[in-house]
Symmetry: C2
Subunit: 388 residues, 2 copies
């Protein structure tokens, strides 16, 4: 790739707080380049005595569409302008530049922080005033998202990390920050999936596994790990403690796109389980601009299915009645563009509504403690009958 | 230790679902022994045509006291009787026996499950009726706690696991379920602390670390791990994602009591931070019967302190005003028997109330991104001025 050698040299000489020079990754240089360009645009306007204006891609629902071909949510081309010489926009203009400069400092220092940390880093009273740069976190978060789209950089590439939760075990060896980690030797606890799993941090060293089983809850993951499911079925086992955080979603995306591993999801048979699947597969509406790298359109939903109460001979006691919110959410989800044309999915959701009850993965325990690991999932994998 | 050889032989021959005989640990045999004794008491009553009665240690606040010598919360000797021939108690008598029998099945199979799993395992309509053994999880949970005190067994010893969250890195090598895990080679993600960390699962193999730094939040943990704080200061770094779950508390207890490591806690300067410290140090009121193994009376609170806003020269913007709930909670905590006689703690809480604001650990970022890892905590450790 083309590089500006002078910039590379300058960056390479930058210093990390007090612990020596930081070597920047190709990705870091690319992100810094975007930030420099943004700054150059603003100063060029000033030098020409013109009003500085930023065109921020619109993150509203009206600018999000489902790309049928790539099968992910995507942002359109609508932008809103953010003007410095506009009383109602001057502050957010300043905040945008401030967040970008914060990201620049982090990248140059070779450090990362949480969005909470960035907020504290940037919060101060504007010079000569009692006006804080940000009143609260809620004022900072959307500006971070603005910067992501403006700079075409994932939050992780701005050196910002999110909460981490979610663990991994299985037949894969990775390198994380230089440490080689054999996920088949991680005991009962597992490898804690970090928030930033970009190739600059995590490399795949060796993978014997043939697929990934992603389960919703850590308690279910513990059952599968204890029964060494991943060993018997030569796979990788992950969970995201409910709706998987960014790190887990990005890792599933990388395991699928880079290693070609199928991703099978074992989630509750309820609207929340459907929603989690939708986020893993198509991305979230709110963050549509990052779907291409965060979502995994090839993911499959293997269960729990609405038919399973009868099919698996579960006992009456495991039924949990649907409430009004469940019914409303289920109908909304059935109308999502990526569900609406899929007969199997509509049938699935209709059957849950007709049943009048939902089923948790743990309901399978009513058959026997290891029914889910020794019979249920192996049969589904054998039969290959998944929802797409 | 003395063992009943006939029972050992019988247990050793028990089978794990379909995957061969399970060898029971000494602890498992002890727990099974307690369950057998419980059952024997009930059948003995029946054989003598007497009414079966269980004496359940009372888990009410009135039966909890602070043991000044051991410095943990402890249960007293009060019990309540649970009678089979009593209309209002017959059901909970049956539920108690059912949970104990569920634990027996789990131990004999060599398997563990979540409390959700146990609930599903035991839920069915009582024979010949439409009456479920448990209506919901809320009916099952207190019975599990009853069984813990009745059998003098931690939940983990009944083969029940809780949610897991919390990670560890640092200069320690452990063995988890036979896998050797070098926590100084765990990259940015870390070793995910399991829910069950009893010696039968986790053994300490080699420990060079001189202390444990326990931080409240995973985002702060990420900052400390990225700066390799544990390497520079030869320690172990843990977090529990807020109030630490049972596995993390038990692990801190074991690191302190078995390896003699001091435990230093870095928590927010707010009532919630104080409460987390109290749970780590003295145990929780609700689960006082397990404090001796779950709490770490030697733990120290190193920060964030009420004086730190001035002392560290933080910027105005990091202050978060106390609300009425904060003020009320702070006063309650100051009256806890283990805080009330400590002048330092009372001064600490009073100063927060006088300040009128609270401080998060992340507020230290307003000084600089690595101020907490490179200046703040090192200085506190050097000066050794902790709250006890």
């Amino acid at each position: 790739m083309a590089k500006d050698p002078s910039r590379t040299a300058r960056n390479a000489a930058m210093f990390n707080d007090d612990s020596g020079p930081v070597s920047l990754s190709v990705q870091d240089e690319r992100t810094l380049g975007s930030i420099h360009n943004l700054a150059a645009t603003i100063t060029a306007c000033a030098e020409r005595s013109e009003e500085p204006v930023l065109a921020i891609p619109a993150r509203s629902l009206g600018n999000v569409s489902f790309n049928e071909e790539k099968r992910v949510l995507q942002m359109g081309n609508k932008t809103t302008s953010r003007e410095l010489f506009n009383l109602s926009q001057a502050k957010s203009f300043m905040q945008t530049a401030l967040v970008a400069s914060g990201a620049k400092r982090l990248i140059e220092m070779g450090k990362t922080t949480s969005i909470r940390g960035l907020y504290y880093m940037l919060k101060h009273d504007a010079r000569g005033t009692k006006e804080p740069t940000f009143h609260d976190q809620g004022e900072c978060d959307p500006v971070i998202e603005d910067c992501e789209v403006l700079l075409s950089a994932l939050r992780e590439e701005l050196h910002l990390f999110a909460d981490k939760r979610g663990d991994m075990v299985g037949n894969i060896t990775i390198v994380d920050s230089g440490d080689e980690i054999d996920c088949s030797r991680m005991g009962s606890g597992g490898y804690a999936i970090p928030s930033i799993v970009e190739p600059s941090v995590i490399q795949f060293k060796e993978c014997k596994a043939k697929f990934v089983l992603h389960v919703e809850k850590n308690t279910v993951w513990q059952r599968f790990n204890e029964d060494k499911f991943w060993k018997k079925h030569n796979c990788i086992l992950t969970h995201g403690n409910g709706q998987p955080p960014r790190g887990v979603r990005r890792l599933l995306n990388r395991l699928n796109t880079e290693l070609g591993l199928p991703i099978y999801c074992l989630l509750d048979n309820d609207p929340w389980g459907y929603y989690i699947y939708s986020v893993i597969k198509q991305g979230s509406i709110n963050l549509a601009y990052e779907s291409e790298r965060m979502a995994t359109p090839a993911a499959k939903f293997i269960g729990v299915r609405s038919r399973d109460f009868e099919r698996c001979g579960l006992s009456e006691g495991v039924k949990i009645s649907l409430n009004d919110v469940d019914r409303k959410r289920a109908k909304q989800i059935a109308e999502y563009p990526w569900f609406v044309h899929k007969k199997d999915w509509r049938r699935e959701i209709d059957l849950m509504l007709k049943n009048g009850f939902k089923l948790e993965v743990e309901a399978l325990v009513s058959r026997s403690i290891s029914y889910m690991t020794e019979e249920y999932v192996p049969r589904l994998l054998r039969e290959g009958e998944f929802l797409d």
